[in-house]
Symmetry: C2
Subunit: 320 residues, 2 copies
């Protein structure tokens, strides 16, 4: 059975959102010929330029015989959402596909068509709060590499499209072939941790001045206990108002954000200094190494020891 | 200062070898405008088709003002090596560039021009032994994600081109910008472990019957001690002949290969069973958990506990 996988692109799409998953399906097709037929579609067909300047030849979108529709992302996605014709076209295409996926900010096009309503979904960490605000019916999970909700799959930013494609291939052809594809591409089959390891609190969609005040206060008093009351006071809000505003603006609870600030502050000390983990845990408010270990696993998917080891290996890498 | 980064492609190149590094430089250029000028070159210019079927518009290669020449890989590389004109053209281009890089099997084109002679280099794990045999003057290191030797950089397969690009960006613009680019692309800034974690001994360029006999013998007697003498006997060679033939055919010593066979056998038990690590270490000939831990770190860049944890998290991932 040959599955037709169609990628949908638009002007100023991110080339890697397309070429990463495309390479995964292509390698799977080399292992199991006839498994996939791949095509690249756009609204009108013809050459579509990616944001890198490289153009790609596309066919006009056509819904017949589609197995999977994969909507890529990229900085042009917002103009495509605003265009009057793209979302209805995609919605019509999606109605005929067995399975639908969004890579990176491709989720905005799916959300605009209502395809993500009442579903769990993810997108690039930098745009997760914006997706949640613009489409409140979507259950955005900002910490996932990819999310499957029924027949709709979404992924985090750019290279996470490869992880998503591996999961689709596993779903179609089993884990053994998906693993072989990952090995061939020299990409991890199972990435540890969520995508929050790639962002920092400072990179999130700029929060309001009040939330920023609370975050700076936390940063300045990191080694002390930081209960919600103290942060709310710094933000000059009631604890209840503060909690609600914080989640809306950052996509996480204050307690989780404090843990993340601690982990982000501790990480360079763990990786680049010879400071004992005990002292780092104290200085960053984790109090003891065990709590720091748990915070690191939740934030980065790896304990401090593993990150220290990897950093040491990286510094000793083979450079002349 | 704007650096001109030129990618060299040929018919049937791997699109991801180009688009991965290209996206990294593009994101760096968004952070620091004017940092880079990017171009895609080929022998004659015009449209060049990648092995995915997607064509890319290229310019005829021209050496003026080049900072970095990046030669991509892909299944068309061997025809390009055989063509009479490509290698001399690349050698001429390389002579004017400040810095030269090869992604994946792009190393074969650099090696054919003598550019890797007496230098350390790497390539896709599947082709490392072939590169070593075809170009004995190259010091091939089959276990690296990327290698720098002076002004010549080479990377492992496909997605490793992104790791290579991050290293070039770090070299140009410092670690802070390279880290920001990695975060934006949702890709690890420092990948743990070497590329041997992606291959298995069975995937290597098919070794001779003798070496295969030794490998099967090792697989069948994994829980027992496996000194070189025993393996050489299985291969019906003297220990000396055996050691030499083994390194030539597999790119690693018999002792390292036995460790890897043990680690590859133990890994699914660690990840997918609830077997105590102690019992797994015994069954696979690591004898005790500490030796297994060290073997795992050398092979996969991560200890058994971390892989078991990641696998558990992956199984519990957010799927409906």
């Amino acid at each position: 059975m040959t599955r037709h996988i169609a990628f949908f692109v638009f002007p100023d799409f991110q080339l890697l959102d397309l070429s990463g998953p495309l390479a995964a399906f292509q390698v799977a097709g080399e292992t199991l010929p006839e498994a996939y037929r791949l095509s690249v579609a756009s609204e009108d067909g013809g050459e579509v330029r990616s944001s890198s300047g490289i153009g790609v030849t596309t066919q006009a979108a056509c819904a017949s015989g589609l197995d999977t529709l994969i909507v890529v992302g990229g900085r042009g996605v917002h103009s495509s959402v605003s265009a009057s014709t793209v979302v209805p076209l995609l919605t019509a295409l999606a109605a005929t596909a067995r399975r639908i996926a969004g890579v990176c900010t491709g989720a905005f096009l799916l959300a605009a068509g209502g395809l993500l309503d009442w579903r769990r979904a993810t997108t690039h960490w930098r745009y997760a709060a914006r997706l949640q605000t613009a489409y409140p019916a979507v259950q955005v999970d900002a910490d996932k590499i990819f999310v499957r909700d029924g027949l709709i799959w979404t992924s985090a930013g750019i290279t996470a499209g490869i992880d998503l494609a591996l999961a689709l291939i596993e779903d179609d052809l089993g884990a053994a072939i998906a693993k072989a594809v990952a090995r061939e591409m020299v990409v991890y089959y199972r990435r540890p941790g969520g995508q929050s390891q790639f962002s920092t609190l400072l990179d999130l969609t700029p929060p309001s001045a009040r939330i920023n005040r609370a975050l700076s206060f936390a940063r300045d008093h990191l080694s002390e206990p930081l209960p919600v009351d103290r942060l709310a006071e710094a933000a000059r809000l009631s604890p209840r108002q503060f909690g609600r505003a914080f989640v809306t603006e950052t996509g996480q609870t204050p307690a989780k954000a404090v843990e993340r600030l601690r982990a982000e502050t501790a990480r360079p000390l763990v990786e680049d200094s010879r400071e004992p983990l005990e002292a780092i845990a104290r200085a960053t408010g984790f109090v003891d190494p065990e709590r720091m270990r748990q915070g690191f696993i939740r934030t980065f998917g790896q304990p401090p020891q593993a990150l220290r080891r990897a950093a040491r290996a990286f510094r000793a890498r083979d450079v002349a």
